[in-house]
């Protein structure tokens, strides 16, 4: 599922948060977005599955198409878009009324899909294994998801997102609440997943971007209160060795400053 973004600007009411982004995200690859806080990485990511529009007053200008189809086109159902384009959020948000088991199956359960018990069990197990959480929770699958620690909760959310097998997976700093072991597991998982899925990840950890991504986009702010914009979008290798833009280099080297 390739994603084409053309001349896209994003607004919160009158406030233009992101300006004029054009990029082409390759299918079955990992694309990372980096940039300083407040530059609109999350905002941009959310437009890729039309999650942006649940915020009142927010809207998008420009064209975003997935696999050649304009996802903001007139006949497009945002729900269908989101089913194809899954998402993991910055802050873990398991459903408080559900057990761990049900949380993993939430995508199916909330849509009232009938699944056989055995099939459900296997979906839960493989998703939890994928999120490197299986061993910790296998004995308390029926306990509430909110009872886990922060890191455990985030891994549960990742399991929940991959359990519905989207074709694109958006991740907004998915590891920011994870310890290194879980982080490494997720990174491994991302490597595995990319053979089937297109993955877009926002991260503030440049090493992570360097480790997991094929392409990297660097967003920046000209000044506070100005909209964020895409400074450079290039293969990760090139980005981290000889970036086109001096700002990119400054930012990346600033990491180690």
């Amino acid at each position: 599922m390739s994603i084409q973004v053309k001349d896209t600007s994003i607004f919160y009411g009158d406030f233009k948060a992101v300006e004029d982004v054009t990029m082409s995200i390759k299918p079955k690859s990992v694309t990372a977005f980096i940039g300083p806080s407040g530059c609109g990485k999350s905002t941009f990511l959310r437009t890729l599955n039309r999650m942006h529009e649940v915020i009142p007053g927010a809207y998008v200008e420009g064209k975003i198409s997935i696999h050649g189809q304009d996802i903001y086109g007139p006949n497009v159902d945002p729900v269908a878009v989101r089913r194809k384009v899954g998402m993991v959020f910055q802050r873990p948000n398991p459903f408080p009324t559900m057990s761990i088991y049900d949380n993993v199956l939430a995508g199916n359960k909330l849509n009232s899909k009938r699944i056989k018990k055995s099939e459900a069990d296997s979906i839960v197990e493989s998703a939890l294994r994928g999120a490197n959480l299986w061993n910790e929770v296998k004995d308390r699958l029926s306990k509430p998801g909110m009872g886990l620690s922060g890191g455990q909760q985030q891994r549960l959310c990742i399991a929940r997102a991959i359990a519905v097998q989207p074709e694109v997976l958006l991740m907004d700093e998915p590891c920011s609440a994870l310890d290194p072991i879980s982080t490494a597991a997720i990174e491994d998982l991302i490597h595995e997943l990319k053979s089937d899925y297109t993955i877009v990840i926002v991260t503030h950890n440049m090493q992570q971007a360097a480790r997991v991504s094929d392409d990297t986009g660097f967003f920046n702010l000209k000044a506070a209160g100005q909209p964020g914009h895409l400074v450079e979008f290039n293969p990760t290798k090139q980005m981290f060795t000889k970036p086109d833009n001096p700002d990119t280099e400054a930012y990346i080297s600033g990491r180690f400053g």
């Binding site: 009324t97 909330l110 849509n111």
Partner: protein
């Protein structure tokens, strides 16, 4: 030690504190003060007030002298909160006690299974007909109000956020809470006078009148509960490709269900004891009548209580307290059910 300008005194964690059980000491002193006031002839209420004031002022004052101003404020508020609770609980307990003790004497199998049909003088009667009527009338009100109320709240929170219609409706709902109950009754009465015929007093009319009073309560409490469901949960569901209506029915409502059920029960409680509108809209009948749509008055427990009271006889007063107790028990059972439902569906935080 730091080189900031904090004095050594401030750095100490264990500043001088009141001795352990200080509140008890002050309490004893306050009781003694009250006792003194009593001896000086202030009367029991005056003495209690003096004692209470003594505690409310003495405890924070001591804290102010020994500890500091913030701690004193905290203790003052704590004292006020406890006192407010204690003072407010007095009439509540008093009322409950009166209802239970005076009602219990009347409660008997006959009282619960007899109607007032052909009952005169000292003959045994009961409120079976009124109990049935209350269940039916309140049931009708609930059947009308709960779906309308909850769906309206859903519209306001999930769909209407900030638009003109939603603002208007929120406002109208507030206005609706201000409909005097007797006016609701007059409205239903006049409505069915037009639709059915003059002087129509029947169960359904009472249900309509009550639903007018119940809907705003349901809307408001449901609204508050829906507001408390964090947006990131909704986003999590949307991100799983769940349509909005399923997100609402399967995630938002279950998350809020505990509070919603409590709100609904509270709203039933609020109308189940309404007298004036029922007097006007569903009327008075000593006989059992279980058909709410038939043009014939239907007795309800509050109206039963009222008519028994207006008899101004010893028996009437007795029956009135009996009716009050029955209503009380009814609501208690309702609350219990709500509580159980609430805990079953409440978010399992596990923390």
């Amino acid at each position: 030690m730091s080189n900031t300008d904090l004095s050594n005194e401030e750095t100490k964690l264990s500043h001088a504190t009141l001795p352990r059980g200080a509140q008890w000491l002050v309490g004893v002193a306050a009781v003694a003060l009250g006792g003194l006031a009593l001896v000086l002839g202030m009367g029991i209420v005056g003495a209690a007030v003096i004692g209470l004031l003594g505690f409310l002022i003495g405890y924070p004052l001591w804290a102010l002298l020994v500890e500091n101003r913030r701690s004193a404020t905290d203790k003052l508020v704590t004292g006020l909160v406890w006192t407010a609770f204690a003072v407010a609980v007095i009439p509540l307990i008093w009322l409950v006690y009166t209802v239970v003790s005076r009602g219990a004497a009347t409660l008997s199998p006959e009282f619960l299974t007899y109607s007032m049909r052909s009952v005169t003088g000292d003959e045994q009667g009961g409120l079976y007909h009124a109990l049935m009527g209350t269940l039916i009338v309140t049931g009708i009100a609930a059947v009308i109000s709960i779906p309308i109320g909850i769906m309206t709240a859903i519209y306001l929170i999930e769909y209407g956020k900030g638009n003109r219609l939603a603002k208007t409706i929120t406002f109208l709902v507030d206005v609706m809470t201000g409909i005097p109950s007797i006016v609701a009754g007059l409205f239903a009465f006049a409505l069915f006078t037009l639709l059915v015929g003059p002087g129509t007093r029947f169960g359904f009319g009472g249900g309509v009148a009550l639903s007018l009073l119940m809907i705003p309560t349901v809307v408001r409490s449901t609204e508050e509960m829906l507001k408390l469901v964090p947006d990131d949960l909704r986003e999590a569901a949307y991100a799983l490709g769940v349509p909005k209506w399923r997100t609402i029915t399967k995630m938002v409502l279950p998350t809020a269900i505990g509070g919603i059920v409590t709100g609904v029960v509270l709203s039933i409680s609020r109308v189940i004891g309404e007298t004036a509108p029922l007097l006007v809209a569903s009327g008075f009948n000593p006989n059992l009548n279980t058909s709410p749509f038939e043009d014939s008055p239907m007795m309800t427990v509050p109206v039963f209580i009222y008519t028994q009271l207006s008899e101004a006889t010893a028996k009437g007063v007795e029956y009135a307290w009996g009716g009050a107790l029955v209503l009380f028990i009814l609501v208690m059972v309702l609350n219990l059910i709500a509580r159980i439902v609430g805990t079953i569906f409440a978010p399992k935080t596990g923390r």
